[in-house]
Amino acid sequence: MGSAPAQIPTSFGHELRACLRCRLVKTYDQFRDAGCENCPFFKMEEDHERIVEVTTPNFNGIISVMDPSRSWAARWLRIGKFAPGCYTLAVSEPLTEEMQHICQEERVQYVPPKRM
């Protein structure tokens, strides 16, 4: 394992949410308590309103990445540089403009989901 893993979801149902930027999947509570490991600048743990804004319950499929740097799937999904953890294959909504702006300020890449 390349780096410390992100939190592992504690449930598998409707409580799950995915970060709109890095697609990390955790429960609402986990985001509330620890934020997103890949996107700490969203400061979800400090501002709980943010959780709803930058995460979504609406995502498609789950991929547990044990070894991001050596996983082809992670590379393909462009999550190869994130912390090990559970991600989703695709989210359907983009970040709000405000949040995209934060990404820009933080100089982190954000790729909105493609409409297929």
């Binding site: 394992m1 390349g2 780096s3 410390a4 893993p5 592992i8 979801p9 598998f12 799950l16 890095c22 890949n38 996107c39 700490p40 600048f41 319950p57 609406n58 995502f59 498609n60 499929g61 789950i62 991929i63 547990s64 990445v65 044990m66 070894d67 740097s69 050596r70 996983s71 082809w72 799937a73 992670a74 590379r75 393909w76 999904l77 462009r78 999550i79 190869g80 540089k81 994130f82 090990p84 953890g85 559970c86 294959l89 695709a90 989210v91 359907s92 820009q104 933080e106 100089r107 982190v108 890449q109 790729v111 909105p112 989901p113 493609k114 409409r115 297929m116």
Partner: protein, 984 residues
Amino acid sequence: MSHHHSESDDDDYSYDDDPELEDEEEEEEEEEPRSSRKKRGRSNPDPVGLRGKKRKPSGFIEHGEADLGAEDVGRHRHFHEPASFRSSRVGAEEYLDFMQEKYSNPRAEYEDDGDYEDGEPTHVDQQALLPSVRDPKLWMVKCAIGREREVAVCLMQKAVDRGSDFKIRSVIALDHLQNFIYIEADMEAHVKEAIKGMRNIFANHKILLVPIKEMADVLSVKSKTVELARDTWVRMKLGIYKGDLAQVVDVDDVRRRVTVKLIPRIDLQLLADKQEGREIVKKKAFVPPPRFMNVDEARELHIRVERRRDRMTGDYFENIGNMLFKDGFLYKKVSTKSISTLNVTPTFDELERFKKANENGEIDFVDMSTLFANRKKGHFMKGDEVIVIKGDLKNMKGWVEKVDEENVLIRSDMKGLNNPLAVNERELCKYFEPGNHVKVVSGTHKGSTGMVVKVEQHVLIVLTDTTKQHIRVFADHVVKSAEVTNGVTKMGEYELHDLVLLSNLSFGVIIKLDSEAIQVLKGVPERPEVAIVKHGEIKYKIDKRMNVKDRYKNFITVKDVVRVTEGPSKGKQGPVMHIYKGVLFLHDRHNVEHAGYVCVKCSSCVLSGGSYSGADRIVDSFSRLGNSKPPVPPSPRRFQRADSGYNTGAGGRHWSGRGGRGQDLLVGAYVKVRMGPFKGYRGRVVEVKEKTVRLEHEAKIVTGKLDLRYTHTWFAASTPSFSNMGSQTPIHPSRTPLHPCMTPMRDSGATPIHSGMRTPMRDRAWNPYTPMSPPRDSWEDGNPGSWGTNLLYPPESPYSRAYEAATPGSEWASSTLGRSYSDAGTPRDANNVPSPYQPMTPSSASYLPSTPGGQPMTPGTDLDVKSPDIGGDAETWLMPGILVNVHKAGEDSNAGVIRDVFPDGSCVVALGDRGEGETVIAIQREVRLVCPRKNERVKIVGGKHRGSLAKLIGLDGSDGIVRLDDTLDVKILNLDLLAKLPHA
């Protein structure tokens, strides 16, 4: 560079002191060739230049250099501001400032995927990531249904707990794939190790390896929601409305609930009973059909209907219980999970039903633009013809120049609009015109092709190529295509036109296959009966070869041509396609219904073509022909009078036994056309009708254009080689006259009429008993010259005019004598030239003495010239202004434009493609039409529209599809009636 790259990997993790990274680096090195190729490709602009420059400063540089190396790989593409910076190439200083700034920000390095481009990863980049043999593999592992996510998460937990001896790389649980998860690992052993002891995983089940090619497909999931917007069409997933079409009215994103409107399935009686507390007999399986709510009806049943205003929208709804109705629709709030939004393509009927709701047409076809929400990506392509259906530019037509994400750049030919305009794709619709040949690419008619005959906004009416039916399709579901297909022609083991046994023991021919049902023309001769069946209702394909007897006890086998003489299908004719239980299925290509199939009793048919039952039979019949009797075609009229007639007449089974279909011996024979516009064509005779034959040419079907005599000549002359050709015929099943391109819209004008052919002498000419039949020995001696002239065309017979002005009588005579059936420019006798302009008199004179036939010229030729028929048909095609080829004997063929036509059929032709050359006079038979090509301007030289100018917009076998200039009507006319116009 490779080294930098791996360094950058370390950088990307905030936790880079992990000892395991050492390993990783090595591994990265291995992968280098591929990734660097990819990266080099897009690490511009000018990474080398930048690197070169930044070497000069010192101190900070050492560090910067390393970083930049990595940057070169990924990072420097990520500056969001430096668009200007890059383009101006300000230089190293500024660049370094920028770098400094960037790296002074502690979080800047935090995430850098390195794989991302400035904007979106391009397609090419993604391609570069496709798996190779060195990548880990994907294994499919069976797990308990509904536990897919759970298993994936548990395996993650297990990996965290176990640490580095857990060798799998990732676990994928797809929402749309139940019962399986994918595990990414280098070896199957790793997978087995990982799943050992896992609950919900069936470890004993076989682990399947996903082929490398399919790995990317596993991961390409579509974004789940197609943005549940208002007006989107969706389908219900649950309950009694399962599968029903619904339209989104409102979306509550927070609670993930949507309000949809659908056609209620409510049993009012049941509802009334319920409300009044009566006993309800529960019929479980019963689902009420969809029906619009009729409030008055409900009230009559004493159902409480309250009209209330919705607090949120301000609209009024009829409330029954807790259900809301408006305009007859049920408005239902459902969870987003209970509707499916992907690939919802409402069928035509469904939309019609939705539309019917309000007679004022609130949901007009214009509103079908809501359909576009479900369009696939890449719907429009460069070059598509489109029309704007919304907004200021409504009804503007144009061509697609470029497609962006949502906007389509279109170019219009309107004046003053030189620049392409960007239009939202939802405001666009593909545009077609009547006459376009199209292919349906989605929907129930997917796969069919046909011609657009009418355009009603987004709805096209298409005449399909195979079934000749009109289908209504959305313009969106159609692309232009020259392809002609039968639509779906195969479904499971059944193919179009198969004879099948249905489960109720009836049988029939499959006349249409579509994605949902199979249409079968049942074997009921009394009336055409079409059954629509499901795949499962077909028991098996009947593949029996049987012989039956026709009305006159002739054996009929499959492929024989028969004519129906009684019953509802009387008059139809065509080859027999199937025989079963005394019932024949013929294919009459003129029949527009049931894909051309006709079902008849065998006893109502008369065999009319040569039998195909064996290749040898044809050969056989001709060899017998040689020593029994020349093929004097008995008059068909005689044939109908009584069938005993010829039994007694010409002895031998050869004639009588075959039902007196003497001329039908020609059927199947390979012949060559001697005269007329089809001169030189070779083909197989498919039908003999009185004095005309129908040939099937290799390339096109030539119908009824040929005087029997012409072909006969050749036939007679080439008898020695005839058997060969004859024997070949049955091997070409594809050349049976089942021409799929035949359109039912055939203009009557296109059908040649040969009524003028019945001359008083005909009976004699056709009568086998007349003394005019040639002496047998002369035939055997191979003296066709004598029999030819004697036999069919007794001198006194006034020849009727067929089709052309060229006098066939004389042509016949001269060519028979000359035996040069391939003649393009046979010298002709002056006598038969009806035109005083004929320039060839001397040549014919010199020709005559060399005639080998001993009977230089029949008096018939003289008569012929004076035949009153002359010029009647001649007028069909010579008209001033058309482009023709003038082919005078002994000269090359020249193009020219007809300037004038004389009453006798000769014409003044100005040579040259545009008629710019010298003017010559040509007789009609020296002049041939120039066959127009698609998109060329034509003049119609025959039929109802004779003289009209038109444009040839399509070709369909031997027919041309034209659009008339004056009325813009689209007509289908035989190509022979279309004359090319000279280029303006």
